[in-house]
């Protein structure tokens, strides 16, 4: 198995005819953890949703390849099958389907017919990963995200990631709404996955998650583009000094997108 590679070139994304991502370049390889930081409204979540194929976002130009294949040509389920995973900021609730049934369907979707995961093996894996995330086993039998608190939903996203073992995971504001203990648990889950065959893109506007998951590269997003990249020290400086110094450096008055002068 070759190490994963996600390559984004000059990507432009619109929602309802309004351009949000305005020419973005980024490359992530296996073994790397990247963090995209930036204030609200700069296009971070749009990037993650567009990469997964969210129906509301339209890619108007640019190129994205995942392990050499054209990601933008793939249906949402094909992107997942290829090894892409998005931990969503606001996961949907689906009534009537238990978490366990859903996860088993998802795992089996990646396997050949006749090679479905055995129930015993599935339960064993699930129990192990739920323990790791300090989740009550009762969550397995609750309807998918229904009535889950914000923090429970986030843990559930990480549980899905650990069960599905993607090649590249995008974590969209996985830290929002989490208390410090839950944050540590989530970080533990991500660190557990860390290996040369796994790449990760963490989207956040706080540095605090990065205290527990040390990124290899940190990018700052403003006005729908990556405006600055660096190592973990960049995140620390942002935490200490905020974003104003970057705006000053680059002559940006309003960092958000769509606020055409």
């Amino acid at each position: 198995m070759s190490a994963p590679n996600l390559k984004i070139e000059d990507l432009r994304v619109s929602i309802e005819d309004k351009e949000i991502i305005k020419g973005l370049d980024l490359e992530i390889n296996g073994g790397e953890i990247h963090a995209i930081m930036g204030p609200n409204g700069t296009g971070k979540s749009t990037l993650s949703a567009a990469l997964m194929g969210h129906p509301k976002y339209e890619v108007t130009s640019g190129k994205v390849t995942f392990n050499g294949e054209d990601l933008l040509e793939m249906e949402v389920d094909e992107r997942a099958q290829a090894g892409l995973f998005l931990a969503m900021q606001y996961p949907s609730e689906v009534s009537g389907i238990t978490n366990a049934d859903f996860l088993r369907s998802a795992i089996n979707a990646k396997r050949e017919e006749g090679d479905e995961i055995s129930l015993m093996k599935f339960i064993r894996e699930l129990d192990k990963k739920m323990d790791h995330l300090e989740m009550d086993n009762a969550f397995a039998h609750r309807y998918l995200n229904e009535g889950f608190s914000g923090g429970e939903k986030k843990r559930n996203e990480i549980l899905q990631m650990m069960m599905l073992e993607p090649k590249l995971a995008i974590l969209d504001e996985i830290d929002s709404g989490l208390d410090i203990d839950a944050l540590k648990v989530v970080a533990k889950g991500v660190n557990e996955m860390r290996n040369p065959d796994f790449g990760c893109l963490i989207i956040t506007h706080y540095q605090r998650l990065l205290n527990y998951i040390t990124p290899d590269k940190v990018h700052v997003m403003m006005q729908g583009r990556i405006v600055k990249s660096g190592g973990p020290e960049l995140a620390q400086r942002l935490e200490a000094e905020g974003y104003d110094w970057i705006k000053e450096e680059l002559g940006i008055k309003d960092e958000t997108v769509g606020q055409e002068a």
Binding site: G53, P55, I97
Partner: protein
């Protein structure tokens, strides 16, 4: 309206049909009166569905089946009733003919009568006379009248006072002939008795135009409990009128669990009269519409008795260009103080062309009551689809999960494990 009053079936035909089956005189008389009414009465007018072009009157009437041993029953039928050891109390009617029957001695010994309706009409004339076309009146409209004139057979289940049956009584009505289904079911539970009856309707003829005209009458005496489970699975060629009616006396309880999965146009009326004080009914329905079928479902409860309670829960899924109207009606009559009515109708549409309407109606003629309703009609949530697919689940499988999830709140509450399993199977087949 003169065009469609010309029934193919006249007095001579009905007389001959009844005589050939050696029916008692009163029944033949009732058939002939019903035939006259069928020529005069108007069609029913289901709210918001136009049925004047639907064929309820042109059909082949008679067909035959041949009695068989258990292991000669078709696999489809065996799948419904379980093994011979499990299917201890079962009636199978094939093309209008009783072809298989089993009833435990221990059940018979308690005075329970379970047999095909024609046999009952001869052997238990007084009882059949007491119940036949009494909950559903012959003169309600043309279709019950036509039903009474031409019914072919059905089931008669009588449970004497204080007898509580634990094992379910089953019936399968199976049609592979192009002939119509004119089936009549009577469940009469005397005071303080308890019984569960489960029926399956199955037909295989997709191609030919045919008609199903089905009436069920359920009588629950004081303190009696009847659980009535039904899974309808009639093929596309069948235009169906199905009327299931209940009457609950003092402190009686009728629980309906209906899986309505016909593939053809269907008018369904499920009405319960809560006659006695403290009576209770609960009617749960799941349905899936597909192809270009049109359906109209009425779930209706009349609270006559004080402290009576009625609950309606309906979940329907519409696929392709299927359309359905769901009318839930709670009617609390004057004098039914302290009674309670509640209903929920939910419809999920899977395609742009599918249509579903949910009309919850509360008609209340008494002040001192409580009632509530909820209804929703919606399309599949694209964000839910995105979420499921983002985990590698295909579009078809994601839809399947959402449909199961949507129907689960009703299916999971169905009173019998066997009905539940059967529903899951049929749903599985229909959503694929």
């Amino acid at each position: 309206m003169s065009v469609d009053t010309s029934l193919r079936f006249d007095k001579d035909y009905v007389t001959g049909f009844s005589s050939s089956r050696q029916e008692p005189a009163w029944l033949q008389e009732l058939r002939l009166q019903a035939l006259e009414l069928a020529q005069e009465l108007p069609m029913p007018k289901p709210d918001k569905t136009k049925i004047d072009k639907w064929n309820f009157t042109e059909f082949k009437h008679e067909a035959t089946g041949t009695p068989v041993a258990f292991n000669e029953l078709p696999e489809d039928v065996k799948a419904l009733i379980g093994s011979e050891e499990e299917a201890k109390n079962v009636l199978v009617i094939h093309n209008g003919t009783p072809v298989y029957f089993a009833l435990e001695e221990s059940v018979k010994d308690q005075g329970v009568i379970y047999t095909d309706l024609l046999t009952a009409a001869k052997e238990h004339e007084d009882l059949v006379k007491k119940y036949f076309m009494k909950a559903v009146a012959v003169d309600e409209n043309r279709l019950p009248a036509l039903h009474a004139a031409l019914f072919v057979n059905g089931a008669f289940l009588y449970v004497p006072k204080n007898v509580e049956l634990s094992a379910p009584i089953q019936a399968v009505y199976y049609q592979d002939d192009e002939a119509a289904i004119f089936n009549h079911v009577i469940v009469a539970a005397e005071d303080n008795s308890s019984v569960t009856y489960v029926e399956n309707y199955l037909s295989t003829n997709d191609a030919t135009d045919s008609v199903a005209n089905i009436v069920s009458e359920v009588y629950a005496g004081s303190g009696a409990k009847v659980v009535y489970g039904a899974v309808d699975n009639l093929a596309k060629g069948m235009t169906t009128y199905v009327n299931r009616r209940g009457r609950a006396e003092k402190d009686a309880r009728i629980e309906w669990a209906l899986g309505q999965f016909n593939d053809g146009n269907t008018v369904s009326d499920n009405t319960t009269h809560l006659i006695g004080d403290g009576s209770f009914t609960d009617t749960k329905t799941v349905t899936i519409g597909r192809g270009d079928q049109k359906q109209n479902f009425v779930a209706q409860i009349f609270n006559h008795g004080k402290h009576s309670e009625g609950y309606i829960l309906t979940h329907g899924v519409m696929k392709d260009s299927a359309s359905s109207i769901f009318n839930g009606i709670t009617k609390i009559e004057h004098g039914a103080t302290k009674s309670h009515g509640e209903q929920t109708e939910r419809v999920l549409m899977l395609s742009e062309k599918a249509r579903g309407d949910a009309n919850p109606i509360l008609l209340i003629d008494e002040d001192d009551v409580t009632a509530g309703h909820a209804a929703s009609v919606g399309r599949i949530d694209p964000l839910q689809m995105f979420y499921l697919m983002s985990r590698g689940i295909s579009k078809a499988e994601a839809e399947r999960l959402i449909i199961h999830g949507f129907l689960a709140p009703v299916v999971s509450q169905m009173p019998l494990e066997s009905v539940k399993n059967r529903l899951v199977e049929v749903i599985e087949r229909k959503v694929r």
